[in-house]
Subunit: 116 residues, 2 copies
DNA sequence: TGGCTAATTGGTAATATAGCCAAGTAATGA
DNA sequence: TCATTACTTGGCTATATTACCAATTAGCCA
């Protein structure tokens, strides 16, 4: 078991790198932004209007995702246009949806069986 | 723009639900656990040995993932055996790896061009 | 140049997360 | 029944994240 622990330590860096990217996805507003960027690029002002938060808040969400390599930005005139750099992330959402549905189903089963 | 903001509010709950699941993935130790559970079920004691943290810490990581519907548990005798409930999550990791590689590549390009 | 708009950055307070230790629960078997 | 093992839960501190406001930067054009 000492051996296995060393195995974890060796892999640790890699899991940290993975977790960094996943953390950059783990916020409702950022998921909303990703969905919007999956359709077309948007400037910060458009996203800010849709979300209804402070510009600085939206800008910071975008910079978190940019640092993680999920989106890229392009300054054109006064505006900065963001686009989705890694569309394969969208495939993942299908799996998340499945997990949500599964959870809802089980919750209903529990309710039916009178356990909650 | 008011219209769009309302659209976000309506979807908000759904994005919160998605984010909950993704948050449950967003930790190096939990990613390690998912990889181990993708091979076979494990009891808490096995995972604790591999990870080298306190049992309570590992137990809490598992309960975060269980609440999110990612893993399921089965108590048999003294031990509790955990297994991966949503294997489709593994597909996602390919996309994360691609993002990591892409990031590394760009970093190298920057270094070559003398910009860092 | 000066004023305007779009976006980013710094500061700060509120909240959430992670880890360990200690205490509690549950199954087993002497 | 009592001790042991496996796990969970509560309590606590340290750290990270989020959101807003204020200040700053950058591009545009009169």
């Amino acid at each position: 078991m000492k051996k296995k622990q060393i195995a974890f330590e060796k892999l640790q860096d890699h899991y940290v790198a993975r977790a960094e990217i996943i953390k950059a996805l783990a916020h409702p507003t950022r998921l909303f932004i990703i969905d919007r960027l999956s359709e077309r690029e948007h400037c910060v002002c458009e996203l800010t209007d849709m979300i209804g938060a402070d510009t600085s808040t939206v800008s910071k969400h975008l910079s978190v995702m940019k640092n993680a390599g999920i989106v890229s930005s392009d300054k054109r005139g006064l505006q900065v246009w963001y686009s989705l750099k890694v569309p394969c992330i969208l495939n993942f959402f299908g799996c998340i949806e499945e997990t949500i549905r599964q959870g809802a189903r089980e919750h209903m089963d529990l309710a039916k069986s009178g356990k909650c």
